[in-house]
């Protein structure tokens, strides 16, 4: 698995484990607002624990049956008695006569089940056809993009939800986990051509991806991961690919050369961010963008480690946003550690170290073993 620790760092690694463990235990009522996304909390914690070599199947094996309760199957009141299925974030959101399953919670739950090695779920409980029917219904026919949920009453794509590259990525990742590999596999459930058209429409003039021409490292990672899962990265035009590579490498914040001139002028520049990554031009470095940028780079080129200065990123993460006292990572040096940045900070380090699957954001070994043990027949 991934070793981001050496002897000197062992003490801190222990604190990180405790930090992630804490989030799986009792949470104060201030977390009520996150109830709806509880599968995200579980996923981030389990990824973090896996990176720090905790045997999560052993430690959390007892929680599997509780996890499975969040997998909801619904028969729709239509003439065909159509069945759809997916996960809710919390049982509070499971409401009789209403469709409340959600794409993000579904992906987070499936990936968590893979890391927990609940292979029995995949072989005997998961109803792949109805799950993928749900994914299919989240696609917007006009644009090819995806929303994250259905109208609770009509069971067609929600008119109120946003659609963007994040949900495209999530939809495709779910299909991939369920065994889709070739275009023909994907085409059985979604309009792949339309989706590719949508992704290409989110290219920005200066390289990278974003909404209406403002490039953003998070959306760029979603777009490139989606293309990678669809085996379609080669569809990117050469110039755009080169511009995107350049754009991503420019996101590494530097205190050297001419960059230091910004010191007293640019209110969102801090020379002590050196080595970290920002999500957009002229923003402070932020822990999570180390992952989004490095993942994007590793998808674009095998030589990614020879192109950027990953050792500086490691230093930035360990010296600046890692919390040696409480465990976890913060967004920047000013805030307290939070779960999201702790997960992605650890993931960035694991990606640099090797053995981490960036497209799915889980340790590669966990996915390899899942593929070895669970035979999901091609659709």
């Amino acid at each position: 698995m991934c070793h981001v620790t050496n002897d000197l760092r062992k003490a801190v690694a222990k604190k990180h484990k405790k930090f992630f463990e804490r989030h799986l235990q009792l949470l104060p009522s201030s977390h009520q607002g996150h109830d709806v996304n509880r599968m995200a909390i579980i996923f981030y914690s389990i990824v973090g624990l896996s990176i720090f070599d905790v045997d999560v199947p052993k430690k959390y094996g007892n929680n599997i049956s509780w996890m499975r309760k969040h997998y909801i199957k619904k028969m729709l009141n239509d003439t065909n008695n159509t069945v759809i299925s997916g996960f809710v974030g919390s049982l509070v959101m499971d409401i009789p006569n209403a469709t409340t399953i959600n794409l993000a919670n579904t992906l987070f739950a499936l990936l968590s089940m893979i890391m927990l090695k609940d292979y029995e779920y995949f072989e005997t409980i998961l109803d792949r056809e109805s799950l993928l029917r749900f994914v299919s219904r989240c696609q917007l026919p006009a644009s090819g993009s995806f929303v994250s949920c259905l109208d609770y009453n009509k069971n067609s794509a929600s008119l109120v939800d946003s659609d963007d590259l994040r949900f495209c990525y999530i939809a495709v990742a779910i299909l991939y986990i369920c065994g889709c590999r070739s275009k023909k596999d994907f085409d059985r459930y979604i309009d792949t051509e339309k989706l590719l058209g949508y992704i290409m429409s989110q290219q920005c003039c200066s390289g990278a991806f974003g909404t209406h021409n403002e490039p953003h490292a998070g959306y760029t990672s979603c777009a490139l991961s989606t293309l990678a899962l669809l085996s379609s990265l080669e569809k990117l035009p050469d110039k755009f690919r080169e511009d995107t590579l350049t754009w991503l490498l420019h996101r590494q914040v530097s205190s050297r050369g001419c960059m230091k001139f910004e010191n007293d002028l640019n209110a969102t520049y801090d020379q002590t961010d050196d080595g970290g990554f920002q999500g957009r031009e002229n923003k402070f470095a932020d822990t999570c963008y180390a992952f989004w940028c490095l993942n994007s780079l590793q998808l674009l080129t095998k030589d990614w480690k020879a192109l950027c200065q990953t050792e500086l990123t490691t230093n930035y993460l360990l010296d600046r946003t890692q919390k040696t006292l409480t465990g976890g990572f913060s967004k920047n040096d000013e805030e307290d550690a939070d779960l999201y940045h702790s997960c992605l900070g650890s993931a960035a380090l694991a990606l640099i170290e090797g053995g981490f699957n960036g497209e799915l954001c889980i340790p590669q070994e966990a996915f390899n073993e899942f593929c070895r043990c669970v035979i999901i027949r091609a659709p």
Partner: protein, 316 residues
């Protein structure tokens, strides 16, 4: 706030303290009661004024709960047809949404809900949206969701008349505001076919003035390059542009590069990168491009030295 009676509703209580639960949340009594009631109303799809009131309370404690927004929209759509004045009913809903927006600047469901309301509105107005957009940008001048929404509005209302002046004002306040610069580019992308030569010349001058003011700024240089690429058929001022960029690099191209410590400071690494990129396109100037990339690698932007060597390798 109006008081409604919910006493006839049998709540659908939420499950608590389950066996082997992960991330158990210590729900407050208020949360349990509120969600019990909301679940009951959604389950029977009651489309009423009291249900609308309840959704506001749920959104207050759980703004990320997608179903509650969906429910509120269905209630609104139903109530709107029952009201004698659809327009003022929807405007009232937008007023409520403005309040929620100001209190939840990072929530993104707000914006898609707003879009759904405007699509429903018989006479939507961009003017009505401008104050909330202004307040949100004043609060966080690079809020991605707000800028995306503003662009959506421009396209939805097919109205771009405020955009250049608005971004000028924001660039005036903070010349490094990349959202403002990319929004300006968005404007030109949409006006690509109708922009006049005078407008383009003025815009090029505007950009050069801003670069002159702060030469080490990636946003203005990216815009400068993107603008010329977009209008490469209409703008032919190559020598002027090269001369302009060269004015920021203190003749370093003519100096030997074997002793980096002896090289002078230059005002802008982005000027050097701009020139390197420009010279790469023409075989006759590729030697200059190689030299410019080498200078970036050894002195002016060394964190990206591997990128600059990659660019040099591509040329050879």
């Amino acid at each position: 706030m109006e008081q409604y009676d919910y006493s006839d509703i049998k709540p659908l209580p939420i499950l608590t303290d389950q066996q082997d639960e992960l991330c158990r949340i210590m729900y407050t009594e208020d949360y349990k009661q509120l969600m019990g009631l909301a679940r009951a109303l959604i389950s029977v799809n009651e489309l009423s004024a009291r249900a609308l009131q309840l959704t506001a309370q749920v959104i207050d404690v759980a703004p990320a709960f997608y179903t509650i927004w969906n429910y509120r929209f269905n209630i609104t759509r139903h109530m709107m047809t029952e009201s004698d004045d659809t327009v003022s009913y929807l405007n009232k809903e937008l007023d409520w949404l403005d309040e929620v927006t100001l209190n939840n600047p990072k929530n993104y469901q707000i914006w898609s809900y707003r879009q759904s309301l405007l699509k429903l509105h018989p006479s939507p107005s961009f003017k009505r949206e401008l104050p909330i957009l202004k307040l949100m940008i004043d609060d966080d001048s690079k809020n991605y969701h707000v800028w995306s929404y503003r662009k959506w509005c421009c396209l939805f209302f097919n109205n771009f008349q405020h955009e250049l002046a608005y971004t000028s004002k924001l660039i005036e306040l903070d010349i490094y505001n990349n959202s403002a610069w990319t929004h300006r580019m968005f404007y030109w992308v949409n006006f690509k076919d109708v922009a006049s030569e005078v407008e383009l010349a003025d815009e090029l001058q505007y950009t050069m003035d801003k670069i002159q003011l702060v030469p080490q700024n990636i946003s203005s240089w990216t815009y400068f390059r993107g603008f010329q690429e977009l209008f490469h058929n209409k703008i032919q001022r190559e020598s002027e542009v090269v001369q302009f960029a060269t004015s920021f690099i203190a003749s370093v191209l003519s100096l030997p590069i074997d002793l980096p410590q002896d090289l002078p400071e230059i005002e802008s690494s982005y000027a050097l990168e701009f020139l390197a990129n420009h010279w790469s396109a023409d075989p006759r100037t590729q030697d200059s491009a190689v030299k410019a990339y080498s200078l970036l690698a050894i002195k002016y932007d060394p964190i990206r030295k591997n990128l600059w060597h990659h660019k040099i390798n591509k040329l050879n």
